[in-house]
Amino acid sequence: VSTQSTWDLKMLFRLARWSSSSNSDGREIKTREHIPIAIIGNNPKVPELISKYALDKYLCPTYFANEEEMMKPANFKAALIVKSDATQIGNFINSHRKLRWMHSTMSGVDKILCDTLVNSKIDLTNARGAFSYPLAEYVLQGILYFAKNIPYFQEQKQNRTWAPIEVGYASNSNVGIIGYGDIGHRTAKLLKRSINSTTICCCDEISELPKGFSDSCDKLYSANGYKKVLRKSDYVVGILPQTRRTSGYFDLDKFKLMKKTAVFINIGRGATMVEKDLVIALKEGIIRGAVLDVYPEEPLPSTSELFGLKNVLMTHHCADKTSDYWER
């Protein structure tokens, strides 16, 4: 999220002192005062990790017992968003006029974006790149699951029958990544390293490309080149953020463009796919299967038709919920 804020002179000087005295090998950073930071959202891990990594030497974190206390006007210039929603953030910003920086512990910020935040001069940073590796492994797992025809074998297991068929290879397959950013970069790197796949990527913002993307990406198209990506891929990985443009991106037309043996993997946001169209595509054999971690409605209601389909691998938004989640 870019900003066009103007900095106070005071803040500029403070930053200059910070950058000149900081060292990458973790020696003590000297500041004249601790930076007061508001922690929005309760989690016992946060104070634990702040003390563990000695961040309380330069931070002065303030925890709030309830929402009323949080909304009292104060002079915080920085805030850490652990768990929140758009209205809470809006109210918080309105009661804290001196906010300059907010950091979200998640990579997806669609839940906390609100008009007040967008229109203000606050810098919003997120945890980009922190959860890329677990998601990359999840994608590899999904690809192997379908390459080895495990849905067919699970069905045979349910019917208690022994019906051998040939299995396929995951190696040397074409993987298409729609929404290529840091997660796409790490995923492509892992897939190249392990199963030697060819990656075809689609990225809208050239400024968002990660460093070293030429190592992982074999072909790169802009947003208009999505047809080429979908037509050639054996496995389509959707890593789109939820914005006005990407809402309902994966609809029946896009599924029809994909190969019939293609597998759709969604690790971005559920609102980027149309659930009805996905169910139709899976039932009628327009695509072979799907691996879903995110859904349009979370928690997914038990009446959803996705639960009953056999060629769907479902996980409940926990692909990145590893035991080192908070450390990341």
Partner: protein, 409 residues
Amino acid sequence: FFLMIRRPPRSTLDRSSAASDVYKRQVSTQSTWDFIMEKIGSKFKLAIMTSKGHPMLKKILASKLDTYFDYDIVESLDQVKAMPTATEYNAIFVLTVASAIPFPMVPVILQELIVRSPKLTWVHSMSAGVDYMLCEALIKSKTITFTNARGAYDRSLCEYVLLSILYFTKKMHILQKNKAEHKYQMLLVDNAWDNTKVGIIGYGSIGRNTAKLLKQSINAKIYAIKATPTTKPEDKDLIDFLGQEKDIPYVLSEVDYVINILPYTPRTKHVFTLSVFKQMKPTAIYINIGRGATVVETDLIEALNTKVIAGASLDVFEKEPLPSTSPLFDMDNVLISPHTMGYTMHGWDYCLSAFEAELKNYVEKTPFTNTVNLEKGYQSSSITVSYTHLTLPTSDLVQISVVAVSLKK
């Protein structure tokens, strides 16, 4: 005018005889095979133990390998018994998987055929595991070289091992169970990178390729168990701990994933019993891509039921096909596949290339690449033991009918 100015055909150019030989070899469209056959001359006699409609036969004909041998298709015991007492066969190619010859009959037919073939010097098996075809004549013979297709089916099996490891690391077995119950529940999952210890019991060609793939993808720590301590130079970077039979308890207590790639020999029969499973961690997963006879299946079922181990991923079983009464079908934390993880769409190509390589060695009289060492572990004194695992229910004899499934459906 055109005839006058065109250059004469190249073979008539003035060159020395040795150089022209070289020139012929380089430019001619004949392959090196034909050059070898020019030296050797006659074809040898090959007996192919298979049935007539087998897909490999078409491939052999298509690759024109049948110009180097005259082959007969041996389909049944009756056919062999009707043969004269001294046939002309120089080699046998056992191609019984996915054919109409039932598994229990293979050693019987092979025995009769070997006894009737005094000129036999080479037997080649299309599969890597040879326990189902061993017969007394083959073991006791001193003139026959026995080769197999070692390494031909490795890639697919390695990917299956990686899949099993990632499947259980990401707790898919619990999540799929939740899906069946229409339940939405977040779980903590694990990262596999630098976080997995894998024990490979029976480290050979498949073990080496698995170790390579696991190191590349998830940087797993490999604990390998081999019968002998000999290794190849590339194993230095792959194996973190190399042990033998006495080190099995140590390895089992350390690792999160135990991969069984043991062949079936009298020495490896029923290696995995309940006491061995109890040596594993309670969070460990057992993966079997070797032979089902190395495990006591009832003990495995008990270990899974009493949570001695956390799950299993099985491709081979003691009795194949697995009878539908088996409790393994009911367990959520078990992945079952019907002995197909080595057989892929390109499986026949790999089989053919393995056969071609050994055929080349046979014809050029160079040492074979993949000989089966029959003296080590296949001693004739306990050879009758290997037949008992083929006590399949006589009504459904095992056929791996390889069907090309149309994935569009």
